[in-house]
């Protein structure tokens, strides 16, 4: 895995509302949502995950070209 700067295929991870975005290249690797979040320092119990427009569980696998949108579970106030 490496952080991509070019046109390499990547997984795009966004927090809903657009406050943060990550682009990660997994290459041949297929990993679970839970592990993907771990890689960027997030806890899976703090987000509901939408993969390519569908709500998925943290056990779902992810690969390059997928688009992930995270809905924060923790809200302020």
């Amino acid at each position: 895995m490496f952080y991509s700067y070019g046109v390499t295929k990547v997984v795009i991870i966004r927090i809903v509302g657009g406050s943060k975005e990550w682009k990660i290249s997994l290459g041949q690797e297929r990993i679970r949502v839970k592990e993907l979040l771990e890689k960027i320092g997030l806890l899976s119990n703090e987000y509901v995950v939408v993969k390519n427009g569908q709500v998925v569980s943290e056990e779902k696998t992810v690969s390059d070209d997928d688009e992930i949108v995270l809905y924060p579970v923790v809200s302020g106030g």
Binding site: L43, V50, V74, G77
Partner: protein, 328 residues
């Protein structure tokens, strides 16, 4: 790839304790069963109730409103209304208020918006500014919590509520539990029961928490699946609160040791039942009536009136407070 343990369709949720996976349809059924079980277990409602839902416009309270309106269709004796307290927090409350009004209209629910400005003469932003100028030792969440709870009870009563339902979920409850252990506040821990009151005071509206055993992840998913998830707007004062750190610590523990949150809830219920047997040691004195405003209070003057006095935002009653403080 994980599929629903019931029908085999793609899962939207995995319960990490039971290991069961649920698709959208079966998650909503699981959610409904879990909330109904909580309501039954703690005897939250009778057959005839005017249930006022305290709504902030956030995902949890919109989910509670949505859920209760649907549930009330099966109970002819229930009336549901919604109440939003507008504290007056710029860049936050105006957005959640929009979502609140939209959802109330969609669900055809009667609602009331009560503001700090209307009842206290000042918005929370103004109150915090005054507090800082006067060098008062309180955090933003202290003013907000005291004034909001005060108005929820008062306005729900004015609306004719027989019961006030709040959207506190399992995560909220255990975070407050840990905060109160740190503060050695056992009286406040007693108030974390799923049903509080009616305390021995005619003006106190009974309170219930139907999401008491529901994880915040589950209420969030319910809100997304029902199109209720609001634009993510965070209260600008939230990060000043110790809750922010405690929440992160508990979530880290839960990630490593699934079930930690339910264990904490069981500990809370156990300690509440122990404390109930030692009420006199925990709660000092009977519930009183505030000598200034007439609302239920733990002391002769309620916390809201004391704050108003200290902030200097009280007019006619100021002398009365000074007399009462002098009597002590």
């Amino acid at each position: 790839m994980v599929n629903c343990s019931i029908c085999g369709k793609p899962a939207v949720y995995v319960n990490r304790i039971s290991g069961k996976a649920y698709c959208k349809k079966h998650f909503l059924e699981y959610f409904d069963k879990k909330v109904r079980r909580t309501i039954r277990k703690y005897k939250m409602f009778g057959p005839k109730e005017h249930i006022v839902i305290a709504v902030s416009g956030g995902k949890d309270s919109l989910s509670l409103l949505h859920y209760m309106v649907k549930l009330s269709k099966r109970v002819p004796g229930w009336k549901i209304s919604a109440l939003l307290i507008d504290e007056g927090i710029k860049g936050y409350r105006e957005y959640t208020k929009e979502d609140f009004i939209r959802v109330c209209n969609e669900l055809e629910v009667e609602y009331r918006i009560a503001s700090f400005k209307e009842y206290f003469g000042y918005t929370l932003d103004e109150i915090i500014k005054i507090g800082k100028e006067k060098k008062l030792p309180y955090q933003p969440c202290s003013y907000c919590g005291v004034f909001r709870r005060y108005l929820l009870n008062k306005v729900a009563r004015e609306m004719g509520a027989t019961v006030l339902a709040t959207a506190h979920n399992l995560d909220d409850i255990i975070q407050t539990f840990v905060m109160n252990i740190i503060n050695n506040s056992w009286d406040k821990i007693m108030r974390l029961a799923p049903v509080t009151g009616p305390l021995d005071h005619p003006k106190f509206v009974r309170r219930v928490k139907p999401f008491y055993e529901i994880l915040e992840k589950e209420t969030t998913l319910y809100s997304i699946l029902n199109n209720l998830y609001p634009k993510f707007v965070e209260c600008p004062y939230a990060r000043f609160n110790i809750r922010w750190m405690i929440r992160r610590q508990i979530n880290e523990l839960e990630e490593k040791y699934p079930g930690t949150k339910y264990s904490l809830l069981r500990s809370l219920l156990k300690i509440i039942s122990i404390l109930e047997k030692h009420k006199e040691e925990v709660i000092q004195g009977e519930i009183k009536t505030c000598k200034i405003c007439g609302e239920p209070s733990a002391h002769e003057i309620c916390r809201a009136c004391l704050y108003r006095y200290e902030l200097g935002i009280m007019k006619e009653e100021k002398k009365k407070v000074e007399e009462l403080i002098g009597e002590r």
